[in-house]
Symmetry: C2
Subunit: 314 residues, 2 copies
């Protein structure tokens, strides 16, 4: 049986195997993903992002527990910074959510930020698709950071949660503004800390500056203390409300189109580059161009245009 | 006269114009960059990165002033988070380094994080190349954040400065590890704050865990108070030392090859995608594929492989 057939029949180990193949970018993984694709589109995808130190992992742990109480199966894709020494993800599956380790209703996968050749958002989408086809009801995608990559990854979700924390640095205003438009829900975590009120108030004020059309979703600002599991239930209810709103308003259709378009673009970008780069590497032109660039007799701009002028497969 | 000719003859306004054209991705900007390329490779490129709130902008301001005292011309490329309301860069040229506003030896350009179609590192390289051809002696590239994008951008530099700040959040260890291998110099800024010693010590310890080959560069950990201009002179001296080491050890050659290779890859990736995406958009296939994906009769994986099988230009 193929990996995809085994995954569709509930084989967890086959899923883990395919995810490793996706990481290693094996060509066979594309065929498996192709076969799984018709079985995707059922899960509720939640994106969780925010600056480092906001307590996102703990919050994701509690959200997972809350959905488990509702007897929903939960997948978690955690994008972790990579260790320069081991090459592996630092926060890793290992230390993540030990309490769910024996729970067959929870499937956790860490992806490291390095070594994806800029294809991290593609890998994340692929892994989420495998979890979706496996029958996970909820898939949580967690990213550390506030860069463009994180924004792209969060675009994979139906509902995006931005986690803030009281009392951060000077240019927090800038970051807040940068993530203001991607959040469907904002959470001030560690809400027992000094400055929680101020942070929540500032966020609300900045959100109010935005114009909302009649009937559109107005992102609420919630408070949690993930460590003590305070406010998590309300958070989960509010996420479910957002999902309901997506369905009832018909916004879900636009969102799904954007998700599909984004996956297609990511795949196209990555595969085109891989094919063409491989070819110029093998026929020796890559070396020739780089040598020319070194002595400035060759500029990269015209070299690339020359390559574009050729057959893609020949 | 073409923009590139005007730039080579010292016309600042022509440079600003070309940078706008690069932002707008005008095809003509590629021809201009092509003509400027032989005149690049002379400037010393410094990358400055680190978590939000570390005081990077102020530090860059002071470094600029220090190089101006040496009568060197300084270019600054600042990657700023984008405002969701205006679409423009938040920290912007406007509020950046007012004191250098009337100094013809300083050229500052802010790039916004949004709207680059994943091509931010290409735009940054292009703008740095324009400044290089203009005759800037030092070019400082400043990024906010710790994501993969930032790492890619910092790879454009000869010397990379990682700015930390005392007393950050819980997962600071992870971030530190993530940026440990990209820093040639580490700076604990706001060194008058509580915890500065601890942060510096932790950084040094983590760096010592690394194995250094005989004669290789060992990244020092410095302290600054950028606001009061404390420690900046020593920082500039240490950066110059790193540059000297690059030259004397011959490491510079490897570094320049990597920079060239990275620029070529970035250009290739972006142009290939743009050309092919445009084509499938215009001939109606994009819409067809997306419609098929929506009802799950078409998977994106085989659609992309089909496109790869075609002529690139036909």
């Amino acid at each position: 049986m193929s990996l995809s057939q085994r995954i569709l029949s509930g084989d967890i180990r086959a899923a883990a195997r395919l995810m490793r193949n996706i990481d290693d970018n094996l060509p066979s993984s594309r065929t498996e993903l192709q076969d799984l694709f018709p079985h995707t589109g059922k899960a509720f995808l939640i994106g969780v992002t925010g600056p480092p130190g906001a307590g996102k992992s703990t919050l994701v742990d509690q959200i997972t527990a809350a959905y488990r109480k509702q007897n929903k199966r939960v997948g978690v894709v955690a994008i972790d910074p990579t260790s320069p020494f081991t090459g592996g993800a630092i926060l890793g599956d290992r230390i993540r959510m030990n309490r769910h380790a024996d729970d067959e209703g929870v499937f956790i996968r860490s992806l490291a930020t390095r070594g994806h050749m800029g294809g991290l958002s593609r890998s994340t989408a692929d892994v989420a698709n495998v979890m979706d086809a496996m029958g996970m009801d909820v898939i949580i995608i967690e990213t550390v950071g506030v860069g463009q990559d994180e924004v792209d990854i969060v675009r994979l979700a139906h509902t995006t949660l931005v986690v803030m924390v009281p009392g951060m640095g000077d240019d927090i205003q800038a970051i807040k503004a940068g993530i203001l438009e991607i959040g469907d829900l904002f959470v001030v975590n560690k809400a027992d800390r000094d400055g929680a009120d101020k942070t929540a108030r500032e966020l609300s004020l900045m959100l109010e500056m935005n114009r909302y059309a009649e009937g559109s979703w107005r992102p609420p600002v919630l408070r949690t203390e993930a460590q003590r599991n305070v406010g998590v239930e309300e958070l989960v209810e509010t996420m479910d409300k957002h999902r309901q709103w997506l369905m009832n308003s018909g916004e879900i259709n636009q969102l799904l189109r954007e998700k599909d378009s984004s996956l297609l673009q990511t795949l196209l970008k990555e595969r085109l580059f891989a094919e063409v780069y491989d070819r110029i590497d093998q026929d020796g032109r890559l070396r020739e161009i780089l040598e020319g660039m070194q002595v400035r007799t060759q500029d990269p701009y015209s070299a690339v245009e020359r390559i574009l002028g050729e057959r893609l497969n020949s």
